[in-house]
C-alpha cells in the first residue's frame, strides 16, 4: 500500500511481567481515520502512547513517515512535532492563558514568529467559537472548551498525524458533542487520525477503519459498517452487546 504515514509492526509492550500489547501490526494511510475500540485495559491508550514515544516499547517498530519512533532517541522531540496528541484530561497549562497555551510550543520549539502563530490560533479559535476566551485561563473554561483548546494547541504545531486518547471520557454528556464536532471537521479536512474512544456512534460516523483490540491483540480490523453490523469475532460481538444492553435499558425507561 502506498502513502502509509504510520506503520506499526510487531509492537510489544510489557509492564513488568504483564504483556499489554502483544504483537500489534497496523498501518495508517495518509488522511485515514482509524478508530481503536476495545474493552478497558485492552491496551488502547498504551498503543497511542507508544505511537508518540511516551511509553518505551518492549519490541517492534513504529515508523512515522519512515522515521523510527523511539522513546529514548534524542530525535523524539523533533518527531513529536509531527504527531499531535490530545489527552482525556486536557492538560492545558494552568498558569498560562489560552493564547499562551497555544503559542508556547510553536514559538519556543518550532521557532516560528509569535505573530504568525497567533494568526493561526486566531483562525482556529474562531472556528471553534472560543476566540473571546483567548485571554482567559484554563480554570475559567468548561471541560468541553478546554478540550477544544487542547485540540487547537496540538493543531498549531501543524502535525501530520493526530492521536486522540479518549478525549471525551471526562466530559459531561452535553459537552461531548462540541468536542466531537471539531474532530469530525478535522477528519473532513483530511487529517490522519488515530482515535481511541468509547463513543460508538461517533466511531461509526468518523472511522474509515475500526481496530478492535482485545488482550493486547488486534482481533478485528474492518470498515465501520461491517464492524458494527456484522462483527467477525465473538469477542467483538460481546463488546458491542454491552452497548446494545445500555440502549435496551433506556428503551424500557
Amino acid at each position: 500500500m502506498e502513502n502509509i504515514q504510520l506503520q506499526v509492526s510487531g509492537l510489544i509492550k510489557r509492564f513488568g511481567t504483564e504483556t499489554v500489547l502483544n504483537g500489534i501490526d497496523l498501518s495508517v494511510r495518509k488522511g485515514e481515520v482509524v478508530v481503536v475500540l476495545g474493552p478497558s485495559g485492552c491496551g488502547k491508550s498504551t498503543l497511542l502512547r507508544c505511537m508518540n514515544g511516551l511509553e518505551p516499547k518492549s519490541a517492534g517498530t513504529i515508523l512515522l513517515d519512515g522515521e523510527e519512533v523511539t522513546s529514548d532517541s534524542k530525535k523524539i522531540a523533533q518527531l513529536r512535532q509531527k504527531i499531535g496528541m490530545v489527552f482525556q484530561s486536557y492538560d492545558l497549562f494552568p498558569h498560562k492563558n489560552i493564547m499562551d497555551n497555544i503559542t508556547l510550543a510553536p514559538v519556543k520549539v518550532q521557532k516560528r514568529s509569535k505573530k504568525e502563530v497567533e494568526q493561526d490560533a486566531e483562525r482556529l479559535l474562531k472556528r471553534v467559537g472560543l476566540w473571546e476566551k483567548r485571554k482567559a485561563y484554563p480554570r475559567e473554561l468548561s471541560g468541553g472548551q478546554k478540550q477544544r483548546v487542547a485540540i487547537i494547541r496540538a493543531l498549531c504545531m501543524n502535525p501530520e498525524v493526530m492521536l486522540f486518547d479518549e478525549v471525551t471520557a471526562a466530559l459531561d454528556p452535553e459537552m461531548v458533542r462540541e468536542v466531537l464536532d471539531v474532530i469530525l471537521e478535522l477528519a473532513e479536512s483530511g487529517m490522519t487520525m488515530v482515535i481511541v474512544t468509547h463513543e460508538m456512534q461517533f466511531a461509526r460516523a468518523i472511522a474509515d477503519r475500526i481496530i478492535f483490540l482485545d488482550n493486547g491483540k488486534i482481533v478485528e480490523n474492518s470498515p465501520p459498517e461491517l464492524f458494527f453490523t456484522n462483527p467477525q469475532t465473538q469477542r467483538a460481538k460481546d463488546f458491542l452487546q454491552t452497548f446494545a444492553y445500555e440502549k435496551r435499558r433506556t428503551a424500557i425507561n
Binding site: Q81, F87, Y90, L92, H95, V109, Y137, A150, M157
Partner: protein, 221 residues
Amino acid sequence: MNLNFDFMQKYLPWYLEAAVLTVKIAFFGILLSLLVGVVCSVVQYYRIPVIRRIISVYIEISRNTPLLVQLFFLYFGLPKIGIVWSAEVCAIVGLAFLGGSYMSESIRSGLESVEKSQIESAASLGMSKLLTMKEVIFPQALAVSVPGVCANVIFLITETSVVSGIALADLMYVTKDLIGLYYVTDEALIMLVVFYLIILLPISIIASFIERRLRYAGFGN
C-alpha cells in the same frame, strides 16, 4: 520598669550598624540558599544518579546539625586545612549551607506536585526537558513552594542571630556586648527585639500577601 532612654538613643547607631550586617548576611545567605535549593531540588526531582545520593547526604547533614556547629566548622575548622574565610563569608556560607537543604525540600515538594500529565502534554508538543522545566513545571511548582520558601526565609533571618557566635557584630552580638559592658539588660534586649521586628515584620507581611495572591490566583485546572 525604668528604661534609660538616653542610653538607648546613644547606642542606637550600634544597633543600626548591626542591623545592616544582619540584613546583609541574611540577604546573601538566603540568595545563596535559594540557588543551592533550586539546584538540589532539580537534581532530586530528575533522580540524577550519584549526584542525587551526594545531595541526600548533604541535606541530612545540613538539617541535622545546628547552625552554630556548622559555623564553628567553617570558621575554626577550615583554617586547619588551609582554607581561611572571613567571619562574614563564613556566616553567609553557613547560612546557605543550612538554608540550602530547607529550600531544596520546599522547592522539591512543589516540583513533585506538578502532575505527570502536564509533563506528558508538554512532551507531546515536542518540548525538550529543559523547556518543559522552565515553562511548565517550574512556574507551577513555584505556586506550591512559595509558602514553604517564605517560611524558610523568615527562619533563616532569625537564624542569623547565631553568627554572633563567630564574633560577628550582628544585632545579637551588640546586645550581648552592651549587657556585658553596662548591665543594661532591659534596654539592650528591648532594642534587640524591636530591631528584629523591624526587619522581620515587613517580610512576614509581604510573604503572607504573596501567599494570598497565589492562593487566589490558584491555578487549579
